[in-house]
Symmetry: C2
Subunit: 230 residues, 2 copies
């Protein structure tokens, strides 16, 4: 069976979990705390970041974007017109543009701050950066998320899914990252009904269920986190 | 003719310039100062980052990684065994792993700090963040570059090029980013002879010439910047 080294509240790991679910690939989740920088983990991924997929054959595929491309290379073509990275050149550019948007830009501006400050720091030892959250980082992330939510609403106002007519990696990446922010109650859904309806659609997919079942010990999710008709 | 919106000392732009050179694609370089956040530029790339390729047909391809994948999709197959993103699944994972390493990790830990603090800030107005460089950011980048240089040396000790037997996107990305650091004299080449010899090989490629001709107004390059046998 494939193994996914991941953390339940790492947004990049959540994207990979959605992909494995959508592709119907059975896998074992192995929890990794990236701040521990464990040597056996660094041996399989010297970059030290999550997630890392180890496939049936033992091939190590590190990083959310690399996993997405690997799955498209190896399993994309059989999905035909349901392919998450569609065949057409123009469509591929648009999906990858938005994939970068969420895996890099949204991560840097929103989800990494919130996951680190509000979740990871509760479990990190003080000497590795644990402790009280940095409120200025949280405020910055909360201001930034508004702009991203409006961008999602803007795209969805003219398209069925983020990158066009069909569900793609762009939707799965955006939703994976937003799901962490939503757990924390930091998505101002009331500000953009279009974005909210898009998220409700993607949240009701079977691949999302395991994400909605995750809990941070000692920290309840926001009220709407599990509610499919929020 | 294709247009590349870029900045002469943006490491991501330099990677795209190397790609266009290696693929033999004639293009016009249009200089963009990303800190100005010009509306006409944001209209073609709402993320606001460089580089952006506009191909002959007018298709907008934003971001270094997206441009690399686009060129591989459209022009990779004809390169056959000289393809910069080789055909094999295992090879593609390794090239993309290292591409991420340099476009994301090295950028975040080294080249973005140095380009911003030592170059961009000289030209940014004060109200957009210009002014004196932050010496603590420069010190952090200089400490980090050692570790990356050793990783390059470690890989090259057992392989002909970074990702394996042949030159790939991994080498072009690493060299593009290092070239900015090298202009500033911040690569401790004397610490790793193996990495230095690899860089000398890639620096002597014709695609590198336009990079070596660039100058920051009022700031001479380091002594070895243009020297092919440094």
């Amino acid at each position: 069976m494939a193994i996914l080294h991941s953390h339940p509240f790492c947004p990049q790991s959540r994207f990979a979990r959605l992909l494995l679910g959508e592709f119907g690939i059975e896998s074992e989740l192995v929890e990794e705390k990236p701040w521990e920088r464990r040597v056996p983990f660094l041996e399989i991924n010297p970059a030290g970041n999550l997630p890392v997929l180890v496939d049936d054959s033992g091939l190590v595929v590190p990083g959310a974007g690399v996993i997405a491309e690997f799955l498209d290379d190896t399993r994309g073509p059989v999905l035909a017109d349901r392919r998450f990275l569609p065949q057409g050149v123009v469509e591929r550019v648009e999906v990858r543009r938005l994939l970068d948007w969420f895996l890099v830009k949204f991560h840097e501006e929103v989800s990494d701050y919130l996951a680190t400050e509000k979740i990871y720091k509760r479990f990190m030892p003080l000497e590795l950066g644990g402790g009280a959250p940095d409120m200025s980082a949280i405020r910055a992330a909360r201001a930034n998320v508004r702009y991203h939510l409006n961008y999602i609403g803007y795209l969805i106002a003219t398209r069925n899914w983020l990158a066009g007519d069909q569900l793609t990696y762009a939707d799965l990446a955006a939703a994976a990252h937003l799901s962490v922010v939503d757990y924390l109650g930091d998505v101002p859904w009331e500000e953009n009904e279009t974005a909210k309806l898009w998220y409700a659609r993607i949240k009701s997919r079977p691949s999302f269920r395991t994400l909605l079942a995750d809990r941070v010990p000692g920290m309840a999710p926001s009220e709407q986190y599990e509610n499919l008709d929020f």
